[in-house]
Amino acid sequence: MTRIPELEQELVAAATRLRSPRRVLRPAARLALAAAALTVVAVLLVVEATDRDHGRRAGQHTGTPPSQGGTKVGVDVSAGVRFTLEGRQLTVTLLPWALTETRNRVSGARIRATCGVAYAQVGPEGDPRNAREERTRFWPAGRDSLRFRFRGVISSSNARWCRAEDAAVGNVGFVRFGTAPVRMRSPDRRIKQMANEWAGLFAASDPRACDNYMTQPACERMECMRPGNRPVENCTPVSPAFRRSFRGARVEKLHIDGEYAGVAFSNGRTAVLTRVEDTAQGGVWWIAKFRGNPAGRLLRP
């Protein structure tokens, strides 16, 4: 037995994730793959719409036998999950850019897939427009996709949305069929969005600033405390005035250099963000440095 068996397990799990095609692909290839996937989705949506029109012209109506219902495809872009409903068979697939969080969430968990017709309750109970159906299956560790077979009223001919969730930890992915595919975002827009959101939460001393937008070391330097009440050496906690200065602050200048991005806020302060995950929406960027003038070098023309 090792002295820290949990660390050995974490390392082997990380090595397993590295082996997956998502990690082996370089970021540029991942983006290309994402673009290709979205193109396929767009084409399939057009095909589906054409099929529906054709069906309508041929006098078909809802309740068509599932085998003739065509295929519906939708992608939850932010989670990196694709839903393919072929007749009564739903395939949930993790795409190459799926978040690590999503992969961890499904791996070895019981996942419930639900598809439905209406987005909200319409008419009385039992109205066919309220039809929905769910199936639960175990998602084997290391697998990228899982199939669910509906047996009742739901099929590709009537379903308008699908969701996959873990009963214990919540949502894995959600799609509405027939809506236009979400456009890929550039990292610039994503970074500005994340930095602006962080500034507001940081100014309000909201703990989400740390939980959702900052790296662990940056969080520790806010209060100069490490987990377990261990102080960070040579560190002064941020002052209330410093926090307040971020109230209403917006990103005015941005420069990306590989894994790092420097931003200058309208309050004259700067921050450095680091990319912690690649996604089709421009990645996930966290505040790594925010004291002093950390982005001065990055922003210098």
């Binding site: 820290i4 390392l11 799990a13 590295l18 662990q216």
Partner: protein
């Protein structure tokens, strides 16, 4: 492809990591004590040593595919190169870097009291072994490795030349290495 054996050389384990994740587990098991001991002797805190060890192995995992075996630089030297960098960076920044672990999506390792005790034991074992060294070697190793003093300073204290101190430290570390291997 047949799975790589746990007894395979370090270089083979690193090369197999991409296809056989458990190979990195074997690499970790083989070097855990040395890396933990290295950090523990320098930071004195089992939890910080564990944090530094975790980041070192995570960084090693992310760059394992770039490792090219060379005659003069075995895998263990490469690993300790990463460990030294982590230590230097943590001293410079006043915190332990978590970048590699974040990139790998690794969950933070929460140490149990038993794990902390197991790590602290490593330090005690090493210190006991230092105490068992012959007198001249013990003084030299303690001054150089434990107190991290400079050679000229130690030489002045021990009233001998720098070369003699270096020789004593080198012989002392060699003896320690042998005894540590006997223990494991």
């Amino acid at each position: 492809m047949s799975p790589v054996s746990d007894d395979a050389p370090d270089e083979a384990l690193l090369a197999a990591t991409r296809t056989e994740p458990t190979a990195f587990g074997a690499f970790y098991r083989r070097h855990e004590d040395r890396v933990l001991g290295y950090f523990l002797a320098r930071v004195g805190d089992p939890e910080v040593a564990a944090d530094l060890t975790a980041e070192t192995f995570a960084a090693a995992l992310t760059s394992a595919h770039r490792f090219r075996p060379r005659k003069k630089k075995p895998a263990v030297a490469w690993l300790f190169g990463i460990a030294r960098n982590q230590l230097a960076m943590s001293r410079r920044q006043g915190r332990v870097e978590a970048r590699a672990r974040r990139r790998l999506g690794m969950a933070p390792v929460v140490l149990t009291d038993e794990a902390i005790e197991r790590i602290a034991e490593l330090d005690r074992t090493a210190l006991t072994l230092v105490e068992d060294l012959p007198g001249d070697q013990r003084e030299a190793v303690r001054a150089r490795v434990v107190d991290e003093r400079d050679y000229p300073d130690i030489a002045k204290d021990l009233r001998c030349s720098e070369a003699v101190v270096r020789k004593r430290v080198s012989r002392g570390l060699e003896t320690l290495r042998g005894r540590m291997e006997e223990k494991t």
